[in-house]
Structure formats: C-alpha cells, structure tokens
Symmetry: C2
C-alpha cells in the first residue's frame, strides 16, 4: 500500500500521524524514520503505509492495519524503540495521532 | 484544525484522500484545490483539515467531520463542483479515498 493500492476487504484501521518537524534536519531523524518503517512492515496485521512531508516541515503518515490489536502491538514496540533514542519530542514541534476505523473507500487509477 | 489542533470530544470522522498528481502543474488545479478548501470550511459539520504535498507529487489531505451526514453533503457538493471542471481524473494519476471513524487520538505540542 505504498503509493497507490487497492483497498483490502472489510473494515480495517488507519493510524493518522500528523507532525510538524523541528528545524535542523538532524541525521538521526531520517535513520529513525526509516528503521521504524522497515520494522512496521514486518509486524503482524500491517497492511501498508502512505507518507508525505512538505517543504514547510509538515508531514502526514497514514499506516493501515488489520485490527486494533495489531496497532497496539506495534505501538508498544515503537515506543520502546523511540525511548532508546531519547524521545519523539526532540523531533517534533507538535504531533497529532489518531486511530480510525476505515469504513468505506474507493480508488481511481489511470 | 489546520496544522496542530486539539482533538474534539467524542467520535468524529476523517476523510483520507491520498493522491498522485499528473505532471504539468496546471494553474487550474491550484485554483480548484483552494476553492474546495474554502468551500469545505463553510460546510455544516466541518471540523478541520490537514494537507501536505511532497515534491514527488504525492499528497495526503485529511479532512475531519462531525458525522457521516456532513461528509455525504460535502461529497455531493464537491462532485458537482468537480464535474463543472471536467473531472478529477485530469489532475491525478491515481487517488485513494477512505472514510474512517476516529476512535482515539492524542496530541503533543512543545
């Protein structure tokens, strides 16, 4: 589900993570973000990810999961990883995280 | 809810619109996107919007709504507007649209 993907059948979950980066562009952030993405792909219940960051430092990452249990397991793992790196608060001016149940969807592709 | 915002109480809805732009960067697209954003703000049940487009043409816009009825009314209006402009298919290589019920959320701000 990186980029365009068909929708899986049945209800599934989206984690909408909206963030504003702190200035500076430290190298560790990129490494961390990539490690997290790689790790999430291996998690049970992972369906896909869509992620964009604009030039102004605003970013939206939406990851998709089979159910709430998958998200919970991933969250525990992610927080452990982040704690080892002195915390998310270093990288973001602010963030919003929302967990939402996808009820309907449709796609278009040329 | 442009940029950072607190979460409203109770369940609400997110429309996750993931798009890949066609090349060219026609002026009409920008005008249209802005007109749509202005119009949505005036709709009943509108809570906010978060929108990012990356340099590669991938974009994510998440708009938030009080309930499904608000989304339905907005969708009808938006489609009417788009039809007048010869269609969404002109602007996008592909898109995914998902309607999801936000069940939980948390925020951080420095």
């Amino acid at each position: 589900m990186t980029g365009f993907d068909r929708h899986p059948d049945g209800p599934y979950y989206a984690v909408i993570f909206t963030t504003k980066r702190t200035g500076g562009g430290d190298r560790e952030y990129g490494e961390m973000a990539e490690a997290m993405a790689r790790l999430s792909e291996k998690q049970p219940g992972y369906l896909g990810i869509e992620s964009v960051r604009g030039e102004d430092g605003l970013g939206i990452t939406v990851s998709y999961w089979r159910d709430q249990a998958s998200i919970k397991a991933w969250k525990a793992l992610a927080e452990h990883l982040i704690a080892q790196k002195s915390g998310r608060e270093r990288w973001y001016q602010w963030y919003n995280l929302r967990i939402a149940k996808v009820e309907r969807g449709y796609s278009f592709k040329k």
